[in-house]
Amino acid sequence: MPFFAPGDDPGASFTELLRRTGSEPFAGFAQASVSPSGTGPFDGAHATTVLAVRSTEGVVVAGDRRATSGHLISHRDMRKVFPADSYSAVAIAGAAGPAVQMVRIFQLQLEYYEKIEGKPLSLEGKANQLAEMLRAHLPQAMMGLAVVPIFAGFEPSDGRGRLFQYDVTGGRYEEQDYATAGSGSLHAGTVLKLGFRDDLSEPDALALSVQALWHAADEDSATGGPDPVRGIYPVLAAIGSNGFRQLSDAESGEVFAALQADLASGGNDSPTARMGPPEASR
């Protein structure tokens, strides 16, 4: 049982506790010889498009399910959106192995802090913790194992959703409206940019996220679209005053069915279309 002298105590940091007990949380990747292009001896799975959108109720997070290795599809049902704790979520793009490990350590860190200190970290504190983990991961990122997360959450005391974007160096950027990451982020971001409104309700934000992922999958080969044959749909999650909730596959399927029906009928009922032409809103 770990017991530390006062002054030598790792406190409420789980990563520090791991180091003190002899297991480096991000070790192993540093020794791997990886070429920057990702075509060297290591060619592990790569996770692609994820996004987050603010809604009037809180924030919505979504991610496709495809993981690729070079030009091949390595997983069809990978999960890239995770609950970080009961009021926040983390979505990941980049090298799948280190990304999933980072999420795991992040989840453990938040719960560990809450138990040791007797109350959860503030949303800002959680966002900073993730930035610190990315900074620790920078040497591996420089070798081609970059991880780029999005962090989104709801602060019960604030009553609003907040979202954070990161870069591989641990840079943390708070976004007001939406955030995207991964190979399809350019296309998804454009759809979000055009469709975002300040008064987007949660169902509208989910519909807009699904539309963004659809267009990302349409343009980017590494982003997976909905797969009704296997019943695999992008992961959709909403965080509000009731905490984190992931939509079931059936619910996600319904949101996609609505989008498909809309696209088939000429696309007049999408959140983007409902916004109206720019003149009309002025």
């Binding site: 049982m1 770990p2 017991f3 789980f14 506790l17 791991l18 007990t21 297991s23 609950p83 009961s86 453990l108 719960e111 560990y112 138990k115 040791i116 007797g118 984190f244 909730r245 992931q246």
Partner: protein
Amino acid sequence: MSMPGLYVSPEQLMQDRADYARKGIARGRSLVTLEYDGGIALVAENASATLRKVSEIYDRIAFGGVGRYIEFDQLRIAGVRHAELKGYQYSRSDVEARSLANQYAQMLGQFFTHELKPLEVEIVVVEVGTGGEANQLYRIQYDGTVMDEEAYCCIGGDADAVRERVSDGYDPSLDVEAAIRLARSALAGDEREISAADLEVAVLEAVVPDASHRRRCFRRLDDAEVEVALGDDEAAAADEEADQDDS
């Protein structure tokens, strides 16, 4: 080499240490842990709302301590660390109360025999069975003695008297409110009343409501919830009504 006047027999040494630890523990208030129809309730008499006696260790495991706060709080933190590290290295389902109780026993035994003074604490480690398994209740004393208890378990200065009072009213089919009421009356005895604000209550729920993403069975009840469970708010309302009738 003999040292007249300084020799203390091992029996006397152990006796002195045990007396010392018992005296320290007897200064604090007691804690009751009891099984109810949907889990395990931990109820402690505690005037402080922030320095806690009852806490979460892991998904299905909770901790309760009495005696010197700083000492049992360090044990709590060591327990959280042990559980989290084990769950990280293996799997969450591999973290068990039994192994944790043994670790605590080892640590307390070590303190008792090798340190300058023993820890003045008594603790419980409980695990709720979520898949139809039996609940586990372990009580660990200042010298490292572990006891595997059934149904209910009491620690603290007044533990024997409290245990007697719990056993008089105990029934495994108690619901959570009845369990909390029983724990309060057992802690208070006949001469005292304990208000909801002076009770610290937490439960380990075998079936977590809205289990879609919650695996943590531990839930702390705030003062208002405790009042409702105890029926104090109704009693207060009834009193008020009676007062109005009188006037």
